[in-house]
């Protein structure tokens, strides 16, 4: 089974990086999260509820919807904060990309460790621009807002193609498909990593950050 890959590109000002990334990541995770599963005796399960809330951006004329999970929000903000710092410290052109990868774990027999098989990867390529005047910044606010609107529409269109999704797991298998570590929401297993690139696309500083430890498949 192939992993499908989607790439989104945005050009933002330095202070908009965080909000733009959070908007995209939250929108994707909104579609890829469910409530917590509560398994019952007969092999059936019920799904808990998850709320949604709107988030207004301060530096962009944009509002996005995210799941009402503070834990998930904190986790994303942490990674996006690191990405933003890496971008800032890299100097250069301010090019980077952040990847959100959904994967499945496959148990292997000993001595081989578990495999992580990605089934969907979302990559957001970021280009940071520096603006001089207040007027330019105002225009940038609106433009980036419109761009993000388009990205959300793109994301929604991809999501609703109903392509491969992992099967709903049994109770013993649930950790291979879903991230059950959060208290109030259950997204599919995911990891976020980012890279700072230079203009040629080669990675100058490769910074990989794994939220859930994975192991190399042999």
């Amino acid at each position: 089974m192939n992993c499908r890959s989607e790439v989104l590109e945005v050009s933002v000002e330095g202070r908009q990086v965080e909000e733009a990334m959070l908007a995209v990541l939250h929108t994707v995770l909104l579609h890829r999260s469910t409530g917590k599963f509560h398994y019952k005796k007969e092999g059936t399960y019920s799904i808990g509820t998850v709320g949604t809330q709107d988030v207004d951006c301060d530096f962009i004329d944009f509002t996005y919807v995210r799941v009402s999970s503070e834990e998930l929000d904190r986790a994303l903000r942490k990674v996006v904060g690191e990405f933003k710092d890496a971008l800032r410290n890299s100097g250069g052109d301010g090019l980077g990309q952040i990847s959100l990868e959904f994967y499945q774990k496959k148990k292997s027999r000993w001595p081989f460790s578990d495999e992580c098989i990605p089934w969907e990867v979302w990559t957001v390529k970021v280009h940071v621009v520096a603006l001089a005047t207040e007027q330019e910044r105002q225009i940038c606010r609106e433009k980036v807002g419109e761009k993000l609107c388009e990205k959300v529409i793109n994301i929604v269109e991809v999501m609703n193609r109903h392509e491969y999704l992992p099967k709903m797991p049994t109770q013993s298998e649930v950790d291979n498909v879903f991230d059950t570590g959060l208290r109030d929401v259950q997204p599919y297993l995911y990891k976020i990593s980012f890279q700072i690139t230079d203009a040629l696309g080669t990675s100058v500083t490769t910074t990989m950050r794994r939220l859930i430890k994975d192991t190399l498949a042999l």
Binding site: C57, D58, T63, Y64, V65, V156
Partner: protein, 401 residues
């Protein structure tokens, strides 16, 4: 089933903004069973609906509705009518779900061309500061004037979900622009209590006031937490209530705030219910009002200002200079263009207070002359010292370059 979102101005013009269309056709997908797959896809569709509703141009308009226009909805069945959306409208196919009984498709067509409204409606930009527009009208309680709300030009925040009535807007203004403790405005009637925790039904105008009354930057998220459909249902009632409330002049018990940095209870100056900055400086022989509930304010504001000490000393010197003028007969001073009064008004009071400021010490002749003489004497010494340090100065200048 179609849901049409439209905008209606206070002048009666209306414009369609969006049409959401939920279709079901007979094309059955035989392979799909009614199992979790169908349910999951439907819930995915619902999430996509939520995401898309925030992305269309109508959303920004709906956040700003209030005085000038409201957003209304209409549900109808049958063929979708896209004529009212103007030219160049865009369509988003939110999603499709195949079920054993048919295929459900959700799509949204939204208007791009908002030009019709822009010439007329959006010329009037909302005011930045609260403005009292009753300058020449005699009002017993200046706080009850229809004040426009203080709109924050900060990004991403609600620029007036609904223009609230007076007291709430004043509350919002005071919390943001003054460091004095918030006034305890008690408004009987349908507005209910202003913070803390008013227990009003979350309905129409009240709900928006409630949100604004507990306004903090983080509430930007909470304010819009209600899904857009309930926002729309609120607007229908809002349009009728929102217009009524600013014009109900409710009785207010205006409690005077103790001004920031004032650390003495304002005993000697019992002014009427009006918040005057530097009230301690105001001359004593203004009209008193016995019914002033704030003659002895319960507690002074707990400010940790480092300026407190210096202001206090200013207060006492100001008070003493005020006393010297008691020998003169005070004629009631009515400055031009100010309100006629039972109450002393800002302009007159201000003028009186600051008519005779104390002399600057450096300008008084004796001290000035002394210091001049001293300066002249010490000049040669100073020059000698500076000449010695010439090299240091040059080095310093070079570092600046």
């Amino acid at each position: 089933m179609c849901v049409e979102i439209s905008l209606k101005t206070s002048e009666g013009d209306s414009m369609e903004l969006e049409i959401w269309c939920l279709e079901m056709n007979e094309k059955c997908d035989k392979e799909i069973k009614v199992s979790y797959t169908v349910y999951n896809r439907l819930s995915l569709l619902l999430k996509s609906l939520l995401a898309i509703t925030r992305v269309t141009p109508a959303y920004r308009l709906s956040r700003k509705q209030g005085h000038e226009y409201v957003i209304l909805y209409r549900i109808y069945f049958g063929e979708v009518q896209l004529n009212g959306l103007g030219e160049g409208f865009q369509t988003v196919r939110v999603g499709t779900v195949g079920t054993p009984v048919g295929t459900i498709t959700l799509s949204c067509a939204y208007r791009i061309n908002l030009a019709f409204m822009s010439t007329r409606q959006f010329e009037r930009t909302p005011p930045i500061m609260g403005i009292i527009i009753d300058h020449f009208v005699d009002r017993p309680y200046p706080s009850s004037s229809p004040m426009h709300p203080c709109n924050y030009r900060t990004a991403g925040e609600d620029t007036g979900v609904t223009y609230p009535s007076v007291e709430d807007s004043q509350e919002v203004c005071t919390t943001s622009f003054s460091t004095s403790p918030p006034s305890q405005l008690m408004v009987p009637g349908k507005e209910g209590g202003v913070p803390p925790a008013p227990n009003q039904p979350a309905h129409g105008a009240q709900a928006d006031q409630e949100r604004l009354a507990t306004y903090t930057p983080s509430d930007g998220a909470h304010c819009a937490a209600t899904p857009s459909s309930s926002e729309d249902t609120e607007t229908v009632s809002n349009s009728s209530e929102g217009r009524a409330s600013p014009h109900d002049v409710l009785e207010t018990i205006f409690v005077r705030k103790v001004g920031a940095f004032v650390n003495k209870p304002i005993n000697q100056v019992t002014l009427t219910s009006l918040d005057i900055p530097f009230a301690m400086f105001a001359p004593k022989n203004l009209e008193l009002e016995d019914a002033d509930p704030m003659v002895n304010p319960p507690d002074s504001p707990q400010t940790e200002s480092p300026l407190q000490g210096s202001l206090h000393s200013n207060g006492s010197s100001g008070g003493s200079s005020g006393n010297t003028h008691d020998d003169f007969v005070m004629i009631d001073f009515k400055p031009a263009f100010s309100k006629d009064d039972i109450l002393p008004m800002d302009l007159g009071t201000f003028y009186r207070e600051f008519q005779n400021p104390p002399q600057l010490s450096s300008l008084s002749i004796d001290i000035g002359a002394q210091s001049m003489a001293e300066d002249l004497d010490s000049l040669p010494e100073k020059l000698a010292v500076h000449e010695k340090n010439v090299r240091e100065f040059d080095a310093f200048v070079e570092t600046l370059q």
